[in-house]
Point group: C2
Chain length 213, copies 2
DNA sequence: GCGGAGCTAGTCAAACTTGATTAACAGGGG
DNA sequence: CCCCTGTTAATCAAGTTTGACTAGCTCCGC
């Protein structure tokens, strides 16, 4: 289901209560529209869907201050919090969740305790190593390599991605072990959220230099 | 539009004329269902869609030998060939096309001439370098790094991905320059396609060891 | 004091993706 | 011979994603 649910739940959670446009702005602030499918349509859709599923509670509120159609505010339910934490953990530990889930999860990792984050990242490294082994075993049988011709380059690419991904993860582990950032239970942590009324330096329409999908 | 169109066009092209199940089998043979969204539903959908758009010509053929509902065969039209080549070139040269488009394009790169492939890959490296520059410029203003807290790790991750992706591409360039593989105009090249009647070692249902999305 | 540029907030149709399900036939066991 | 399983081939409904569009409001210049 991609990473939107994680991103949207996380954004709403950090505000306590938020409407769609706020979420949209936060995600843009994080550059999420560049590395995930966090486009307006998807965000509003995710909000409605998750409200229907009980992960969010919807408040039909005031006909909006400051122009525009009446806006709905959302709040994360208990069930939504569980889902959020599950997605967060999966994003960090499970390579199959995809790279956008990883990126999103990194954005919220400080909501967990340092020790748990380290455990999850180590899990990820282990999963990558295991996947690598099973693939090389599978694609490099007795016949020797080269039997796949240039098709082997595809496999080569995925193996390389797994290797470099694992290497990067190890780097992050070292930084976190070294005391970087402030995690849950360690005092006020950095909140990457726009304060009420703060202008968004990356507002929609302002083209980022060198936009990258 | 993801990489399916490229994959489906390529598969049909290699057969000359193919029905959905053949395409599906080829893509599974390449492991495409693991690194792209090449699932049955998507394949059949792509075939119909592209037939409607004139990229493929559909033949309502025989009520199928060997069981199953009557099958439709497809053939790539001239317009479809153009689209195929465009997607192929974009997949190789443009990082924004995504990694699955790259993987698919690698699978078909031998349909182009060696010199062109090298040019396209160099374009990719250049695009990655340029993207990297614009991002670092954007995210590392005067205030110095660290202003983003742990959010900076997300950027760090994408930069690392770009760097390692470029490095891998350079490796491929060296191999191709070194004479690896057989490209268009160089004689019979490796065809990663299942011959008529050949059994598919990766048939649906046989679980791959360590499946990775 | 008005007109349009631009922001705020969200909707919508069309396309795409997914996983389950259908449907036809082949072959083997009892 | 008849049922049951497996294979071949494809469809379908439900959910997602996309990009374009709507619509209210403010503010600025003229």
């Amino acid at each position: 289901m991609s990473a939107i649910r994680l991103l949207v739940l996380g954004a709403v959670r950090q505000h306590g209560r938020a409407h769609g446009y706020q979420v949209r702005n936060d995600l843009e602030f994080w550059g999420a529209h560049e590395w995930s499918n966090a486009k307006p349509g998807s965000i509003y859709h995710a909000l409605k869907q998750m409200a229907k599923q009980g992960l969010l509670h919807a408040y039909e509120t005031a006909p909006s201050t400051a122009g525009g159609p009446p806006r709905t505010e959302y709040e994360v339910t208990e069930q939504g919090t569980e889902e959020f934490l599950a997605l967060l953990r999966a994003g960090l530990a499970d390579p199959e969740a995809g790279t956008d889930a990883l990126a999103g999860a990194i954005g919220f990792m400080v909501e967990l305790e340092r020790a748990e984050v380290l455990a999850l990242l180590n899990e990820r490294v282990a999963a990558l190593r295991q996947w690598r082994e099973s693939v090389t075993e599978y694609y490099t049988p007795d016949a020797g390599p080269g039997q796949f011709g240039h098709i082997g380059e595809i496999m080569n690419y995925w193996l390389d991605s797994a290797d470099t991904g694992a290497e990067w993860t190890r780097g992050l582990i070292r930084r976190v072990e070294g005391g970087a950032y402030t995690f849950a239970g360690e005092g006020e942590h950095f909140v990457g959220v726009l304060a009420e009324g703060q202008e968004n330096p990356y507002a929609t329409g302002v083209p980022h230099p060198g936009d990258h999908r």
